[in-house]
Symmetry: C2
Subunit: 326 residues, 2 copies
């Protein structure tokens, strides 16, 4: 749940005075986003989102995230644009937290993904990858393959409380994933979102009544990694039904639209199953970590790790890219 | 915590189609408000709040709440105005819940109450009471004096887990409050808000730089009761510092501004201490009930009941209305 930090009125006013944003008109906490405190901010200059970065975000990484958003927005990606203060800086402090104001994006994230969402999603992801070119900073993926073994270790003692035999199954799955993972240099790299779940993608209906992407948000897992891994995250996040069956129509729509901008190489296509296994184990492990490390009374929604075990098993049985409609 | 109910996109679209509000532009969950799910809704017609009424609200009482808001708004009170659909109805259903759209109000609720907030608050409360005249429906205060003994009974078994001796102290305090409570007919009655805490009052700075009330929200405890009891709720909610010392400057500002519109009768002034004790025990008892009945893992912020024990003790020692600056 969001809004961890309350900001005193005077502090907010003093903070806003550092910008050319006019007078405060409204200020409401937003119930979405798990990691940070987000406020819908309205001033006489328009609508904005004020984000206070909470403990899970390393302040040293914020220049990468904000710089990437600025770079992408300048190239036409509908992502939040950091707003600079009178001193030219976008990142400052409020209520003892790093804080930034970004532009507000219209749209609604899909509570229920339909196949019509998946083509615009694929196109937006390819555009994001293309627009990221030329952004020089590099951020390693802290939740990439090198991050997974220590996460599993941290879950070893209590993982089987979630499900009998889970840790052994994950040991075997992770070994196989790391063994099959693409060699360095084998696949195109670039800046990826790495967390492009439905609640991070806003849509609005176009004049034809079909959904169009109006916003991509929450770049706080973005990093420099395999572009096709971002696709694998989306296949996990967008193409399974609530009963965890895989909807290949959605996958095909996503992949076709992506490839209309950037065709996958043969190596990328062949790697899709292991990239999907990797993405599944990444979310499984972080959810399992949260599950086994969250005190019972904490005000946090714990997401079920086992949903990702079922996804992982699906990908482990995929014979090749045809499992995803390719 | 807010946002209990997620609404599927198609259901939202179908719901909106029942209104003359144009096209959906944005839709975000609001992290404020404990009882209901609230969404900031933007359409091509403007900004609105969509509320889904959750279990604590009795659907049979919604016509009273919505009717009162409409009545007050028509008389210039800056409260949410229910928006009617094409069929003339403001109350309908969405995602299996009663639901209504109201107008959006600008402003910011004060995270830290300053004395300058209390005069505009008092004036707004008096205006609310005056504007309520002529609204015919009646809603008994379910959390008024008759509701307190059963609440205390429900807390009897576990109340002392919060503090040793608490139940005995509350037994004695409640008996005294009920003994001293104004006789029926002794004080002016009308429609009261009954929950006018700082997070239910929005302010904006006026041209003189001083805060002005821009919105009064959350009328879902409103009822027909003693007007001065609403003042007592505000004295409890606005005039204690975080260390629970009583700030008589704030109280005087609130009461003076209130009396500029509606002077209190001598009987009302004399009753202020017992009304304040009543308001304190009302919030103490509901918090204590929530504290002792909330499962440890529930995603709800439990508010400390003991803050109201200290307020109750303050009021019990008040010799008369002079304790509040009168």
């Amino acid at each position: 749940m969001a809004v961890y930090t309350e900001v005193a009125d005077e502090a907010l006013r003093a903070f806003l005075a550092e910008y050319e944003l006019g007078e405060l008109v409204a200020y409401r906490g937003i119930a979405e986003g798990v990691e940070n405190s987000n406020y819908a901010l309205r001033t006489t200059a328009g609508d904005f989102i004020l984000t206070l970065y909470e403990r899970r975000v390393d302040p040293r990484e914020l220049p990468y995230f904000l710089g990437l958003m600025e770079h992408l927005a300048a190239r036409g990606i509908p992502c939040p644009t950091p707003v600079k203060g009178r001193d030219g800086r976008a990142l400052r402090a409020l209520a003892g937290r790093p804080a930034a104001i970004c532009t507000f994006l219209p749209g609604v994230w899909p509570r229920r993904v339909r196949p019509e969402h998946c083509a615009p999603l694929g196109a937006a992801l390819a555009a994001l990858h293309a627009a990221g070119e030329g952004f020089e900073p590099v951020r390693e993926n802290a939740l990439g393959p090198r991050g997974w073994p220590p996460l599993l270790e941290a879950c070893r003692a209590r993982g089987d409380e979630v499900r009998e035999g889970l840790v052994a199954e994950l040991d075997a799955a992770l070994s196989a994933i790391l063994r099959d993972w693409p060699a360095p240099g084998a696949l195109p790299r670039g800046h990826i979102h790495a967390d492009l779940f439905p609640d991070n993608v806003f849509f609005l209906d176009g004049p034809d009544g079909k959904p169009r992407v109006s916003g991509l948000i929450d770049f706080y897992f973005a990093c420099t990694d395999l572009l096709a891994y971002d696709i694998a995250v989306c296949l996990n996040a967008w193409c399974f039904e609530t009963d965890l069956s895989f909807n290949v129509t959605k996958a095909r729509a996503l992949l076709s639209a992506y490839q209309a901008t950037r065709p996958l190489t043969a190596t990328e296509r062949a790697a899709l199953p292991v990239l999907c296994r990797g993405a599944a184990i990444r979310f499984l492990l972080t959810r399992l970590y949260d599950w086994t490390h969250t005190p019972p009374g904490a005000l946090v929604t714990r997401k079920d790790p086992l949903e990702y075990l079922r996804r992982l098993r699906f990908h482990a049985e995929a014979r090749g890219p045809s499992a995803y409609g390719l």
